[in-house]
């Protein structure tokens, strides 16, 4: 039983923390958001140079090691900095799909680019009607000779705007909500018939509605086995939940600590407001929610590293359930305790709150995961 990090992990943590500390203050972050790509390309190169883009991948695949704990360490720091660079969609999700479903050739062709930063990816799994059901897929892929023809609408695809490849779940057989009959394809983002409507998201990221009209995808870009893509999608999303869970834990730490600092300095009625017992207890509750979330995050990372399966899935859903309570409480409380300042776009607090709001929704809200937890 051990909750300490290896030497490499400690180095990774220090290195990311240093980057956030030195190169990612809130003002810089806001500037990065407003770049046309929605992030800072220089940072992306830095991430690549420092090897961070390889963190979720095994050494065999050219990565850093690929444990969930590694990813967790990195994403927790990203959460503290509210990092907007598309690590989640490109590396964790698109890269994760290649890792989980790709054959040697596909990895050879694409994973290297993800890791060295030359290829950006997106993962298109949700649809306007699907809500959180990963198996609710109406986008169709019909075999035509050696290739497939794809048609459909993929919703809220993070980073599609910058993506070279969009990894798409599509139905090759079965009924609309069957788990069987889903296949995963690597789609060239510039292929004929791919159209996008890009927009910013509430938390300062970029997403797109992606419409596929008779997009032709060569059979060699089928990821994994035909009709058995659901397993790939599910694993990618569970690993993505771990990543945003770590982000949320990092963000919650900043929020509760900043709130404590604010309440120590802000004076009202002749004393720091941190002397008011009601605020003290509220901050204790924030602290407790952060610690409980951190614990269950550790559990989920460890379970994923023990091997992907029902135990890991259950831990991941537990994480999302815990966040549903903790992140909501910590975010709302931080805004409330900062008073008017918490409501401004100018201060970082509101932006953490908005990121946590997105995280509550992403990949299924607490209700959805409480049901999944109960089933598993």
């Amino acid at each position: 039983m051990d909750f300490s990090f290896t030497d490499e992990q400690n180095l990774l943590q220090e290195s990311v923390a240093r980057f956030i500390q030195n190169d990612y203050d809130f003002e810089t972050r806001q500037k990065n958001c407003s770049e046309s790509a929605g992030f800072n390309a220089g940072n992306w190169s830095t991430f690549a140079e420092l090897g961070w883009l390889g963190v979720p991948f095994s050494e065999e695949d050219g990565g850093f090691g690929g444990s969930a704990v590694d990813t967790m360490i990195l994403m927790e720091q990203f959460g503290k900095g509210l990092v907007v660079e598309p690590f989640l969609p490109s590396v964790i999700m698109a890269g994760g799909a290649l890792k989980a479903g790709g054959n040697a050739e596909q990895k050879e062709k694409l994973l290297g680019g993800i890791i060295d930063g030359s290829v950006q990816g997106a993962f298109a799994y949700a649809e306007p009607q699907s809500r959180y059901n990963l198996a609710d897929v109406t986008t169709s892929a019909v075999a035509e000779g050696d290739s497939f023809k794809l048609n459909g609408h993929k919703a809220v695809v993070l980073n599609a705007q910058n993506a070279d490849i969009i990894i798409v779940s599509a139905r090759t057989s079965g009924a609309q909500r069957d788990e069987a009959g889903i296949s995963v394809f690597v789609v060239d983002a510039n292929a004929l018939g791919v159209s996008r409507r890009d927009y910013p998201t509430v938390d300062g990221l970029r997403a797109s509605e992606v419409v596929l009209e008779n997009v032709s995808v060569p059979g060699s870009d089928l990821l994994g086995t035909l009709d058995e893509g659901f397993a790939v999608v599910e694993q990618v999303i569970d690993e993505a939940i771990l990543a945003i869970g770590a982000e949320a834990v990092g963000a919650m730490e900043v929020l509760y600590k900043n709130t404590v600092e604010y309440c120590k300095t802000r004076e009202q009625f002749g004393q720091p407001i941190g002397k008011f017992q009601v605020l003290q207890h509220r901050m204790v509750d924030m602290f407790m929610e952060h610690e409980q979330s951190k614990s269950i995050l550790f559990m989920a990372a460890i379970r994923l590293d023990e091997g992907y399966g029902p135990v890991a899935q259950k831990a991941v859903s537990a994480l999302k359930v815990q966040l549903g309570k903790s992140a909501r409480f910590v975010g709302q409380s931080a805004v409330q305790l900062h008073g008017g300042m918490g409501m401004t776009e100018e201060l970082n607090i509101g932006h953490y709150f908005k990121r946590l709001t997105s995280i509550l929704t992403l990949f299924g809200n607490a209700d959805f995961h409480l049901k999944r937890f109960g089933r598993l």
Partner: protein, 401 residues
């Protein structure tokens, strides 16, 4: 005990409805309104029509005394008016002039000031903002530091006001300033003055709030010269005038009608949101959350009516009135949150106006407004007396702690 309106009130209700039907056409009701109630300053034609009709009917300031152009409505009639206009989504007169300033003026100000300002507040032709809060004084208003020094027939005012709603579109600001720094109690030595926003030395800086609303501002006052005639009442007694307003509880602050509409919209949204081949409105976990809020809201409506019934009989509002804002904001925040939850992934897109105008909404039409309303709604437990301050007050005033 009963919940029926009497025949007189029923008749009044019909009259109000008829007026609304004529002055606020049905097609206007469907319009998206910004959650903050249109501080943006653009006033669409329907709104102008509505305000003109209000003024013509002499219903623009129903709460004022009849002699100043108000009405002699009973509390129940005022309540009916509030409910019916809220239910129809009618735009409201800006509260700053009508509800915050005017009572001070008609209670404490000189005839000259009344004559100068009340008519233009009544007809909505002059906009006001409220200069109370300062960077160092949030809930602790009495700690304000903006300074007014008498210099001949002018005050020279220096300081900074903040969280000033609508300062960017206001013509005038009513303002608390410190005219005496050597008082025993901090509440003394504060004066209530009126400042023309066009005065040299007044600068307005926008503060953008969550939900991307430009509603509030900071206002810096540098050597602003204010004629002594703009002092309301006596110098150094401004706290007394302002305080009467701050503790003025109104049944309307519960926001029951608004929350009822929001709840209905939430149910509609759940009924229109696909999930697993059915709709979200069939998901027990979600529906039970809506039902639980509805019960709270039903209770709050009756709590409001209890207060109203007491006031109607000429009594002071009972202790139950102190919970109207506390529960009302809790409920409205909860409904806003559930709307965002109902939207699922489509609670994330945050397109700009241009994109919306050109290409339409992303996901359901309600998406962006619901998200913005949720974000903006966090302010309701902060501004205008935070939940914490309100509970302190109830503990002291109602429970005697």
């Amino acid at each position: 005990m009963d919940l029926e309106l009497n025949s007189q009130d029923l008749a009044f209700q019909q009259e109000v409805r008829a007026f609304i039907d004529s002055a606020w056409p049905a097609q206007a009701r469907g319009r998206k309104t910004t959650p903050t109630g249109g501080y943006a300053g653009k006033r669409p034609a329907e709104e102008q029509h509505w305000f003109d009709a209000l003024v013509a009917r002499k219903w623009s300031v129903p709460d004022w005394p009849l002699e100043h152009g108000g009405t002699d409505w009973t509390p129940t009639q005022k309540y009916i008016w509030d409910r019916e206009t809220a239910a129809a989504g009618c735009p409201a007169m800006s509260a700053f002039g009508v509800r915050m300033l005017a009572p001070v003026l008609y209670t404490w100000a000189s005839d000259e000031i009344r004559e100068q300002h009340l008519p233009s507040i009544r007809d909505g032709s002059v906009q006001w903002c409220q200069g109370y809060s300062e960077p160092g004084s949030g809930s602790d208003l009495a700690s304000l530091q903006t300074k007014a020094v008498l210099d001949g027939d002018h005050y020279i005012v220096n300081g900074t006001k903040t969280w000033t709603s609508g300062a960017h579109i206001a013509d005038w600001m009513f303002c608390l300033v410190r005219t005496d720094f050597n008082t025993q109690r901090r509440q003394q030595g504060i004066s209530f003055i009126l400042i023309d926003m066009k005065s040299p030395g007044v600068e307005v800086h926008p503060i953008y709030l969550l939900g991307e609303q430009h509603t509030v501002n900071s206002v810096s006052l540098v050597d602003v010269r204010v004629p002594v005639e703009n002092l309301v009442g006596e110098q150094d007694k401004g706290w007394t005038y302002a305080k009467g307003l701050l503790t003025h509880e109104r049944t309307g602050i519960a926001g029951v009608a608004r929350s009822q509409i929001a709840l209905r919209q939430l149910r509609d949204l759940a009924a229109a949101t696909e999930q697993n081949g059915g709709v979200l409105a069939e998901d027990r976990s979600f529906v039970e959350k809506i039902d639980a809020v509805e019960v709270e809201l039903m209770a709050l409506e009756i709590t409001e009516l209890r207060t109203l019934a007491t006031v109607e009989k000429g009594g002071a509002p009972g202790p139950e009135s102190s919970i109207l804002k506390l529960k009302g904001t809790e409920i409205s925040q909860r409904i806003a949150e559930l709307k965002v939850e109902a939207l699922g992934y489509y609670s994330m897109p945050y397109p700009d106006e241009l994109s919306l105008d050109n290409e339409g909404p992303i996901g359901p039409e309600e998406s962006l407004p619901a998200l913005q309303a949720m974000l903006w709604g966090r302010a309701s437990t902060i501004f205008g007396g935070s939940t914490e301050i309100q509970k302190n007050i109830v503990a002291k005033a109602v429970l005697g702690l």
